[in-house]
């Protein structure tokens, strides 16, 4: 156990630190100081990749965060058919990510006879270019990513809803609160702990997005879907520049740690006040 963690978990984490200030080609290793970091920061693609990643995170938040809450609350009211609904909701999560991404890539076929374009045609809309359209490519990827992941969050929220204190519903009802106000004033506050954690985990996850844009667009069209992790991948495994890749990894990890720290502090104050 100690060997597994030592060699493949702790050692790589520690090794990132010296690696980020070295340049290595396996034969010779030289210390280059902060050169790797300055070369990362001078890359014009870094700003593009950061903005794209941020755009992905925001879209995934706006589209992907409320959907599972809505599904969980409604499914919880269905009672007898709750089990069947849970199974259906969880089905997309069972898709291996690569299969889901490739299937949606086929759905996004830009020709008028593509799956989604045909469906849009029924309503007199489209056809859209989906992944070939610079402005539409990222929202399309978010659509797929949301489809693939909303089941997990729904199941977790459903489990949380089972533990909500029901006396408060009785009290709210006696006070004449309708269904929506009961949801707003009783259900949501009791879910707050889980919601806050899930929000942070989702943010951390979306900032490390790779598989979806890598398979669907490989960063295109015209770098509209290049993400930070894709940049790390290209530095390390396309150009063989491990030092530069590690430097960017450390920057991203530092940004994520700072984000978590600020988030946890802010929400702590908010929940105690």
């Amino acid at each position: 156990m100690l060997m597994a963690f030592g060699l493949f978990s702790w050692w790589p984490i520690l090794r990132s630190l010296p690696l980020s200030v070295q340049r290595t080609n396996f034969l010779t290793t030289e210390w280059v100081g902060l050169d790797n970091f300055s070369r990362v920061l001078q890359d014009p693609l870094l700003i593009t990749a950061s903005l794209n990643t941020l755009w992905f995170a925001v879209l995934a938040l706006v589209i992907g965060f409320p959907v599972p809450i809505l599904f969980a609350v409604v499914i919880a009211e269905l009672r007898r058919t709750r089990g069947l609904a849970s199974v259906l909701v969880y089905l997309p999560v069972i898709f291996p990510p690569v299969v889901a991404v490739l299937l949606w890539k086929a759905f996004f076929d830009p020709s008028p006879t593509g799956v989604l374009n045909t469906a849009l045609g029924w309503f007199g809309l489209g056809p859209l270019a989906w992944l070939n359209d610079g402005d539409l490519a990222m929202p399309s990827i978010v659509l797929q990513a949301t489809w693939a992941s909303f089941g997990t969050a729904t199941i977790i929220y459903l489990a949380t809803l089972m533990g909500v204190q029901t006396e408060l519903y009785d009290a709210a009802e006696t006070d004449g609160a309708g269904a929506f106000r009961r949801f707003w004033h009783v259900t949501l506050p009791q879910m707050r702990g889980v919601l806050l954690v899930m929000l942070l985990l989702q943010l951390i996850g979306t900032f490390q997005v790779f598989t979806e844009p890598y398979i669907m667009t490989n960063g295109g069209p015209e770098n509209h879907t290049v993400t930070i992790l894709m940049l790390i991948y290209r530095y390390a495994f396309v150009s063989g520049d491990y030092g530069r890749a590690t430097a960017l990894s450390l920057l991203l990890a530092a940004a994520l740690s700072a984000l978590s720290w600020i988030y946890l502090r802010a929400t702590k104050r908010w929940s105690t006040s």
Binding site: M1, F95, P96, V99, K105, T113, I204
Partner: protein, 295 residues
């Protein structure tokens, strides 16, 4: 909890009111329509695309088998595009990940929860810490580590060891095990020790048989994780002949016939879906469990 005593946002009184009943019925139909279209629809379409000809699907994606069901495509995929090889690779990858994952998680959990050497607290903290460090930090350095393992100085790239060993160092699994073992009453260990059982005997004939439920959860999480992995096997298994399904599929997209590609996707998804439908209770409980750990 019986259905009689529990309530949710709507009370029993609400549910008797005719207006609420009709509204609930409408919502029920609506929710299930959405879920069937959204969640079952893609799976059904994939099956249809796999058993239709490429031109049929590409020219009219919603037509239902205009020239009959072509079952032969599945056999073609199995033999022509070497899918059988990728499938066997995937099985090996999963089996090894399961073996090493369970080995590390059970021995680690046992050491931390039961044996408790003096340095156990430090190890526990170090394992917990890896949960909070974003995985991206060690992607590149882990790759370099696997290329030249410290002390052993061997290169694991191109072998399944490069997938098995890093996957076995899974902090969540060790912590799940540790929590479960720590909840076993200490009297049992006391009694076993008095009967003369050593730490290894206690582990094999007392702890492991008692931990079936948690072993099931950890096995499930490990197997699903191994089947889904993409980036890491892509990096460490560069030779196409060694790759699992998940890494090989994107290559099939550009190389083969569209219907064959759809059939390959369908085979890849129907196996986990079938397992899910059989073990749905365990899957959903594992999903809810991971939520409890997060919350």
């Amino acid at each position: 909890m019986s259905a009689e005593t529990e309530r949710s946002i709507l009370s029993r009184l609400d549910r008797r009111r005719p207006g609420v009943r009709v509204a609930l019925g409408v919502v029920r139909v609506l929710v299930f329509t959405v879920l069937v279209v959204l969640c079952v629809g893609p799976l059904f379409w994939l099956f249809k695309a796999a058993t239709s000809t490429s031109t049929e699907t590409l020219s009219a994606p919603f037509s239902l088998w205009p020239s009959g069901v072509h079952w032969g495509t599945f056999a073609e995929v199995w033999t022509k595009v070497d899918f059988a090889r990728y499938f066997v690779n995937t099985l090996w990858l999963m089996a090894g990940s399961l073996f090493f994952g369970l080995l590390v998680a059970t021995t680690g959990g046992y050491g931390l929860a039961v044996l408790k050497p003096r340095y156990a607290k430090a190890v526990y903290a170090a394992i917990l810490a890896t949960l909070f460090i974003p995985g991206v930090i060690s992607l590149v350095s882990l790759y370099l580590t696997v290329m030249d393992v410290p002390f052993l100085h061997t290169n694991l790239i191109g072998t399944l060891w490069a997938v098995w060993l890093p996957a076995s160092a899974n902090a969540v699994n060790v912590l799940l095990m540790q929590r479960f073992f720590a909840a076993i009453p200490g009297d049992l260990f006391e009694a076993a020790r008095i009967d003369g059982a050593g730490p290894f005997r206690i582990f094999v004939s007392l702890v492991l048989p008692m931990s079936r439920p948690i072993l099931g959860v950890v096995s499930l999480l490990t197997l699903v994780g191994a089947y889904k992995e993409f980036l890491w096997p892509l990096l460490v298994l560069p030779n196409p002949e060694d790759q699992p399904i998940s890494v090989a599929l994107p290559r099939l997209e550009t190389s083969g016939d569209f219907a064959q590609f759809m059939a390959a996707l369908f085979i890849s998804v129907i196996i986990p879906v079938a397992l899910f439908l059989v073990f749905q209770r365990q899957f959903l409980r594992a999903a809810g469990n991971s939520g409890a750990l997060k919350g």
